[in-house]
Point group: C2
Chain length 542, copies 2
């Protein structure tokens, strides 16, 4: 196949009219020609850090939309499904990904389970890491989020890191707010990337110490505007929802980057040659021998996608997508029985007391770290009662791997007036997390999630909406549009219930992630991330 | 150990006063301090493409000087000794290198023998390549100089390339003047670097096609001035003689680069972080966990070396070098008997003729490519006689691996008036090459080289000088100063004999290299590189 257009070279920062000869999925030859063309051919975009599960779509369903937007490769960490189903889950992702034309490169989940502070569904062992990293389609050791283990020279995490070093594969980092001596120790272990930075100061420190910085511009965390002038190395989405995906992917981010003043060649490097070099992916620039992953765009401001070629096959052209996904379903992973409302009651230590002062997780919109606060709540019939007026609601984590743990605590920021929401997407162990105004509603939504084999649910005094995610409780087998539509309905419904958060379920999904500061809930209790210990919900009762 | 100074960061382009904590040979921590310092601490320099043998020094003897000049790592291709002694030679290099504090990283010689157009001493097989590339100290497949084999899809070279790909190690290139479709095919094979470019146009084409460009600034080929504004990737020396080494190494090149207008941070990147990234070397920037390879310099114009730390050990300080080399000798590799003068006669086909028109290798000073010309020479007593007046001298290649081949031809440019020179350093097979005004002198110098177990020799009607290179006929066990002094004496002597070349022996050493255009001599005959075939010396006789 021969294609023609204005070829953009991300190495030499040139655009020149040319013809590309494609053979057996690779670029065979490039020839400069003397013609005028309207379109620009750029290397296919690479999202170099994404958890596909967070889109609530399977890889093939994700591909169905992402490739229309010029994404031709992703480096994906199947960390979420690994936490639910271990190697079997990772193999589901590989197999489903293979049915799609998009190039899926995987990283081997380094921290499954993430910590011992919660119950998850499976363990990825040192041997599993060796098996995965020996594969050609596994390009790195996934983000080492359990930085405490690195700081403590834990033998298991060090063994995993050493396997990656031995196999010449890079090691991704995840150390939000880590600084000073601790950060230096973390980097010393051989960890080379960071996508969790949230300030220019953090970027500066980490860059200076040799880390490559990923600008995260995902559904929740959006750092592009802040870091646009920081000379970072990659742009990634990390977590990217179907709702956002249907509007675009890397193309939208490039448009925003240029709009914010970034040179378009510089912006393109962050999603082409830079990740290709770092992860040893045979793409990222238009050069002989590289995968023929090519995208026709209209110009360097709008980045409108005219045509997409992946591995030499035209997969999107004239607004027509030449691929349809058909992902397989799997057996349920919800190993938990229906819960009575009483399971969500939070008993006072002393039922005689009138009130309890409690630790409260303090939600911040659009960032995955939480604050912490305290609240004084009434005790009625021996139970500590949430204060809808003060937006102190109940939050519970229902373990779903057969152990029957349940933890009940308090949270501020969800703003529900009368109802509850629940989700089996709850990083990283993906137990069922629910926030509500009373135990009855919380039991209802939790049981709905269970009966759907996983998913999201919301209920109020007026209505109930749910989204089934039967694949590991994380993903739908439906299309992005279908998932996004239901998800958007759920969002609107929850906002109507009084929730001021932009993305209530995304925010909810991070409330149980005990590796991100500062106060989180797990099925085992209330976890003080900053001090690395469980703390009591109740401070004192009066 | 703690060291202090103005720390130069090649990633962030900053200089800030700081303290570096070194532990177990690695950088443990870096701390910014509030003090004034005179010196700048920079990452140790990396020469990312060098054949140590070309210095005529062993690795340990090379290190003895290079580290005084701030070189802390080299990526070296033991291609020369491999051509003489195969794996045994490579192991000599590894073992000798280990006795020195400098970090020697090796590449696995991909083309030994280089071609079938000459006789060499050994073969590096596909299995050898696998054995070498599986080692941690082997960081790449060496320059694939036999580009014709790549263009012909030769199964052996492709197997070697595939081993490198499988082991995630880069593949170095060597394709001087290769352009267009042939170049694209060469790159398509997965070859990623080029150090042979000799014009900005060549650089531009190769960069555009995805190659990383090494600016070669060696003893013979000096491209820095030409390429100083070309945004290349590395600076290397490739072939660097003891005579030059005693004056400096990368430090001198940095000084020149800055003097030519290159930004000092940009210049430093080419010899620190860039090669470290490409060859996966744990150095190249001052960051936690990296090898503590650190150099104190006075400023960013002079690059005077004040102190050198390698793997955490101070090895040079206050003009004192804290290391002395003591390389081992090995058995002779000269498997050839002494030659009579008559062996160097070039017989006419028809002794009745008066003259012969012959093909002549046309030497150009300071580049390793040759031109070609013809000359009409007298026939006397059945022999074709060189013309000293017209500077058409005889050139012979004496095979030294037990096969007794000898080839006699003609060369222009050496300018000798009365005498001969010979060398067992003759890329890439390292047979004995000699240029002279008559057969008697040529036999004398050749036999001197043989009796020295290899080396260089020159003789005239007035005097004789020689340099023994008993290690594979390539290297001395003596110090750089000793080798350089004798080498310089030889040079001056040969210049006094009428030779106008700046480096007669270096130029001589490339006359038998049949992978560099355009006309070369080997023990098997006169090789037309451009047309990939042997041609006759004699065009016609009259």
């Amino acid at each position: 196949m021969y294609i023609k257009g204005n070829i953009l070279n991300v190495i030499t920062d040139e655009i020149y009219p040319g013809e590309i000869h494609i053979e057996k999925g690779k670029i065979r030859e490039i020839r400069e020609v003397n013609k005028d063309f309207n379109n620009i051919i750029v290397p296919g975009f690479i999202d170099s850090h994404i958890h596909i599960e967070s889109s609530m779509l399977t890889p093939s369903r994700f591909a169905e939309i992402a490739l229309k937007h010029g994404t031709t490769s992703v480096v994906t960490d199947p960390h979420e499904i690994a936490n639910v189903m271990g190697m079997e889950g990772i193999k589901y992702m590989i197999d489903d990904a293979k049915t799609a034309p998009l190039n899926f490169y995987f990283t081997a989940p380094s921290c499954v389970p993430t910590t011992t502070h919660e119950t998850n569904g499976a363990k990825i062992t040192i041997d599993d890491i060796e098996e995965l990293l020996s594969r050609d389609d596994f390009v790195a050791l996934s983000e080492v989020m359990d930085y405490e283990s690195v700081l403590n020279n834990d033998s298991e995490i060090m063994a995993k890191i050493n396997i990656a070093k031995k196999l010449n594969k890079p090691i991704d980092g995840h150390a939000p707010l880590l600084t000073g001596k601790k950060l230096q120790k973390y980097i010393r272990a051989g960890i080379t990337t960071e996508h969790e930075a949230t300030s220019r100061r953090e970027v500066a420190e980490k860059k200076r110490l040799g880390m490559k910085i990923m600008i995260r511009e995902g559904s929740e965390s959006k750092m592009l505007e802040e870091f646009v002038r920081e000379k970072c190395d990659f742009i990634v989405t990390d977590d990217f929802k179907a709702d956002d995906l249907i509007k675009g992917h890397i193309d939208v981010i490039l448009r925003k980057a240029v709009d914010l003043g970034m040179d378009p060649f510089d912006a393109l490097k962050l999603v082409t040659i830079n990740p290709a070099e770092h992860y040893n992916i045979n793409a990222g620039c238009i050069a002989p021998g590289r995968n023929a992953d090519l995208v026709f765009i209209d110009n360097l401001e709008d980045f409108n996608i005219k045509r997409v070629i992946i591995n030499g096959n035209t997969i999107f052209k004239k607004q027509k997508l030449l691929y349809r996904a058909n992902p397989k379903l799997i057996d349920t992973t919800m190993n938990v029985s229906f819960k009575p409302a009483s399971a969500f009651d939070l008993k006072a230590n002393n039922p005689e007391c009138k009130s309890a002062t409690v630790n409260v997780v303090d939600v911040m919109d659009n960032v995955i770290v939480t604050g912490r606060t305290t609240a004084k709540l009434n005790i009625e019939h021996g139970n500590i009662i949430p204060s809808v007026y003060n937006d102190i609601l109940k939050v519970s984590v229902v373990e779903r791997y057969g152990g029957n743990n349940i933890f009940n605590g308090f949270i501020r920021g969800f703003g529900l007036k009368n109802g509850a929401i629940a989700s089996s997407v709850a990083h990283d162990s993906h137990n069922i997390i629910t926030v509500g105004t009373n135990s009855k509603y919380m039991a209802d939504v939790t049981n709905k999630v269970i009966s759907n084999n996983g998913g999201l649910a919301a209920t109020s005094n007026r209505d109930s909406i749910n989204l089934a995610l039967p694949i590991a409780g994380l993903m739908s087998n439906k299309s992005a549009l279908s998932v996004a539509t239901t998800s958007q309905k759920l969002n609107d419904f929850v906002n109507d219930m009084g929730c001021p958060l932009v993305n209530p379920f995304s925010t909810l999904s991070f409330m149980a992630l005990p590796v991100v500061p500062s106060l989180k809930v797990t099925d085992k209790g209330l976890f003080d991330v900053d001090n690395d210990k469980m703390i009591d919900v109740i401070l004192h009762e009066d």
